[in-house]
Structures are given as C-alpha cells and as structure tokens.
C-alpha cells in the first residue's frame, strides 16, 4: 500500500460542443478546482496536464499550455498521454511526485475540443501505425469494436437490446441531475430503440458522443491538507497496469488478439486486472464500495465493467442491472454522474471527471444524485493501446 494523497479541490467546465479551444476549457476547470480548494494558482507547485492529440502542439504539452494560460509562475510541469486513460495517468503522475516529496500541492487538468462524428486517426499515409491501418484496411471505427463486444455478450451471456437500453435509461436519469453533463434529459428505452443503428447491435443512443469539456483536481500531501482542511477526500490507489501476454481480448486498434498457442492466457484479462490492482493497492474489495464510475463508451460495455470490477460474477452484469443494484438507490450505484452516456467523451478530461464525481459524492455534495453516506468509490477506464486506469477514493 502507498500513502494517501488528498483531493483538496475539484472543478469542471461543462461538457458540450462549445466551439472554443481546449485551453480555455482547461483554465475554467482549473480555476473552479482552485476555488473549490480555497487556494490561489500561485500556491500550486506542480501542474500536470493530460494531453490531447486534437489541439496541435499545445495539446501535446498540455501541462505547459495550461500553466502559461493560467500565468507562468514557475511551477514544475508534467504532460502525459495515455489515450482515454490520460487523466488517470495525470493523477498518478501528480500523486507520485507528491509522495516522493517533490511537491506538496499539484493541479491536474485535462481538456479536449472534439470533432463532430467518428474519431479519426492522424492524417497522412502511415502504414506503420495500427490505428491508421484499422481505418484503411477495415474501416473499423470505435463503435464497430463496441458492436463486436455487445454481440459477443448477447451470444455468451444472453444480454438483450433491452438490457443495453436500460443502461442508457439509468445513466440519462442520473445525468439529468448533473449540471456539468452535456445531455440533461431522461431517455426512455423506446427512444433508444428508435435511434439509428450505428454498429449492429448498437444504436446511436447506446454509444457515447464526442464532446468538448474539461476537468481538474487539486491534489496534495496529507500533511499539506491538514493545514488547509479537515477530513478531505483521499486517493488511496491509482491503477495504471498494462495487459499481460498473451492479451486475448480484441481491443482498439487491434487487428487480432495475441496468440495463446505457446503461452497460456493470464487468469485475469486487462480490465479485470486493472480493478484487481486498484483493490490490492487500496486494501479494499468490491463489497467495500459505495459507488463506481465506469467508462461506458457503450451501454453494453458498462455491463462488462460490472463483471471486471467484481461487482457481480462473470456473465451476470445484465442481472445486476435488471435488479436495480447499479441505479441510484441501489446496492452499488454506477455512473451517478450520468457517465459517458450523459457527458460524451472528452478524452483527456474524462478520467479526471470520474475523480471529480467521486470527490463530490464522498463529500456528500452531489445533490439529487447523492449516494447517501458514501465513503468509498472506484473509477475504471481503459485507454487505447493497453492503458489501464482506475482510481480508488475514500473518506
């Protein structure tokens, strides 16, 4: 077990399609997090930026871009990229430097300005890049991978389209109560069923949109936190594991899984190993959790996460949903923020936004979507090219 770090502040720029630069969203979120922490920007000793690949060079050095926009004040800077897991990597980079004594207090920021429609690979003729090749050779957009997983679950576990739709119904109801969500309207199962098929069996309302948005947190050593507040939310674990060979689950942007012809597959697949590492580091298990924020790129994928987080047995994700366990008021509410179903994905901000939601829930300040008496929560997410991402927060 590592020592805890404190979450002193959390802030967001609301998700949407605002048509402005990621820097502007990031600065707004950073200022909100600083105000929430009761600290001045000039108090910050380390800035960590989660990079975006969509903002040109400033996006690749997001930490410095935000530091300049907030006003150079000499803080250390780190910029990290791990696709959808960038935010968790940023949190972990800040945590590691705090625990190493390199900084007492850090500001972690992720922001994106997303294009309309499918995410596309970087341009040019780049046959050495598997992400470019999957579009060139297969036309395999992100939703087609979600469609493959969904169909597999239907065949293997008997999940139904109605189950998938009910994930959207649940998450949209939570998102309707979240002022930072992009979609703040309850959606019915009929509306999901009436939306266009994008990648069979998944429909438009089964698949998350791409959004503009930003999230930020102020992290500090426990000693620094004691001088500024009482009983802060604490980050107890950050899991950033990679897969174990042979990786037998087809992930974006793979053409194929690893072969298990010569080496037996590991006991846990990547997603389950992400959670196992988080639980081990935190010294808690799934039964200790009050809520979870998981990466619902599609409705079907949320059910997969239930199983990978060991909230239920393998194959029983849909049953857990049908029983109402993962809705607000259930045994283990999942995606109380509304999830990606209500936010849409702003890639480098998303894993930080998950930590913001845990923070507000553990403080008891989540309003109409509050989980009563929440003391422990987990986030889970997975980034392209084998990046695990999970954060355990407690109070």
């Amino acid at each position: 077990m590592t020592d805890d770090v404190a979450v002193l502040g959390a802030g967001m720029h609301p998700w949407g399609k605002w048509g402005r630069s990621f820097t502007e969203y990031g600065v707004a979120a950073a200022r909100a997090a600083l105000a929430d922490a009761g600290l001045a920007w000039t108090d910050i000793q380390l800035v960590v930026g989660a990079d975006t690949v969509r903002g040109g060079y400033p996006g690749y050095v997001a930490g410095a871009t935000f530091a300049q926009a907030l006003g150079w004040q000499g803080a250390r800077v780190t910029s990290v990229y791990a696709a959808c897991a960038s935010g968790a990597q940023a949190v972990n980079a800040a945590r590691a430097q705090i625990l190493a004594g390199m900084a007492d207090v850090a500001l972690v920021i992720g922001a994106d300005a997303a294009p309309k429609g499918f995410f596309a690979p970087a341009g040019g003729n780049r046959p050495d890049d598997p992400d470019w090749l999957r579009f060139r050779v297969l036309g395999a957009t992100n939703p087609t991978y979600f469609g493959l997983y969904a169909r597999r679950r239907m065949a293997l576990h008997g999940d139904t389209l109605e189950d998938f739709a009910q994930v959207k119904v649940k998450n949209s109801a939570a998102g309707a109560a979240n002022p930072n969500a992009r979609y703040r309207k309850a959606v019915s199962a009929d509306e999901v069923a009436a939306s266009a098929v994008v990648a069979d069996p998944l429909r438009l309302l089964d698949i998350c949109a791409t959004s503009d948005g930003a999230a930020a947190v102020v992290l500090s050593s426990m000693e620094f936190a004691r001088r500024h507040t009482t009983d802060p939310v604490r980050i107890r674990a950050v899991s950033t594991v990679t897969p174990s060979y042979p990786k037998t689950v087809l992930d974006l942007p793979d053409f194929a899984t690893d072969s298990a012809a010569a080496v037996e597959p590991p006991a846990l697949g990547l997603r389950a190993s992400i959670a196992a590492a988080a639980y081990e580091e935190a010294g808690i298990g799934p039964s200790d959790l009050d809520l979870a924020e998981v990466y619902d790129l599609s409705t079907a994928l949320e059910l997969q996460w239930y199983e990978d987080l060991a909230l239920c047995a393998p194959g029983e994700g849909a049953k857990l949903l049908r029983d109402g366990a993962t809705a607000l008021g259930g045994r283990i509410p999942v995606n109380t923020s509304g999830g990606l179903a209500s936010f849409g994905e702003a890639v480098p901000a998303q894993a930080i936004a998950q930590v913001c939601e845990l923070t507000w829930q553990l403080r008891g300040l989540a309003g109409d979507r509050q989980v009563p008496g929440a003391r422990a929560g987990i986030t889970a997410n997975q980034g392209l090219f084998g990046h695990g991402s999970s954060v355990v927060a407690v109070r």
Partner: protein, 163 residues
C-alpha cells in the same frame, strides 16, 4: 485500363488468384485453397503473431529474434460480428458521391493459433448470415480501386456461402 493488383498491406496475406481484373479472385468470389493470412512464428518459443512480428518475439519470457513466416488457418469460428452503418473517416476509401453501403466486420477465432483475427466479411454477406460460433473461411477480396491500382485484402465468408 488494366490496374495493377496490390495488397493493401504487403506481406499480410498471400497474393492469390488470377491477376486480372475479371478473374474470380478479383470479384472476391469462390474459395481459394492457397489463399492465407501470413503470420510469423518465433523459432524459440513457438508464439504466433498476426499482424506479423519480424524482428523481436513479443512473448515477455522469450528473447527470440528469429521469426519465420507461417500461414494462418484458413477456417475459423465467428467470435463476434458487427457492421458499419455510417461512412468511416479517411484513410478508409469510399466514394463520397455514392450512397454509403454498410459493410460487415467479423472477428474470427482460429483454433490452432488460439487467436481472434478481424476482417471484413465477403461482399454480399448479411448480418443475418452470421452467428457467433459458426464456421467461416478466408477468401481473397478487393478493398478498393483507384485509377492505377486494385487494392486487395482478405475477407471472411460463411462456409458454403459461395456467392
């Protein structure tokens, strides 16, 4: 005008069939016993790779550097499938002036290699033709054509679905 036939990625599959524009291979019709995906096999540990690894073995317990070409199984079973109802972004090539025709994507489990390989389904394959667990086979196909080149690829086709 005769176009040159070129694989969309060199070295990933055998270049099969009559090399003309009107042969059965060009139309993506009919099984071709010799058409195979080409992977590589580590000569030290036996691990198989597709897409091919030619320099270093990726088994973490193996430091092998000798990888030899190995043809992958021609038949496998459907692990899952889906389709693309909307036009994918570049570099996927499609004619923006023509109405988008959805294509089917199949993930196929190869028993001998113990791996799953993606591919587009052969033209004419409908979602209703597929089921998880059913047997499919590899057939040569055409991805797209431009003024000079017919870009060839691999397709998965339901067994007996010779269309």
């Amino acid at each position: 005008m005769a176009r040159a036939r070129k694989p969309v990625v060199a070295g990933w599959f055998t270049e099969a069939g009559p090399h003309t524009d009107d042969g059965p291979a060009a139309q993506g019709t009919g099984a071709d016993q010799d058409f195979r995906l080409i992977g590589t096999r580590c000569q030290d540990c036996g691990s198989v790779f597709f897409p091919r690894e030619d320099t270093f073995c990726r088994n973490p317990a193996c430091s092998g550097t000798t990888l030899e070409e190995t043809p992958l199984s021609r038949r496998g079973r459907v692990w899952s499938y889906t389709d693309g109802r909307y036009r994918p972004p570049a570099p996927y090539v499609s004619d923006p002036a023509r109405e988008w025709e959805p294509y089917v994507l199949v993930a196929v489990e190869l028993a001998a290699e113990r791996m799953v390989v993606l591919g587009q389904a052969a033209p004419g394959t409908a979602l209703a033709d597929l089921a998880v667990g059913m047997e499919v086979e590899l057939v040569p196909g055409v991805l797209n054509e431009d003024d000079e080149t017919t870009w060839t690829t691999w397709h998965w086709q339901p067994l007996g679905g010779d269309r």
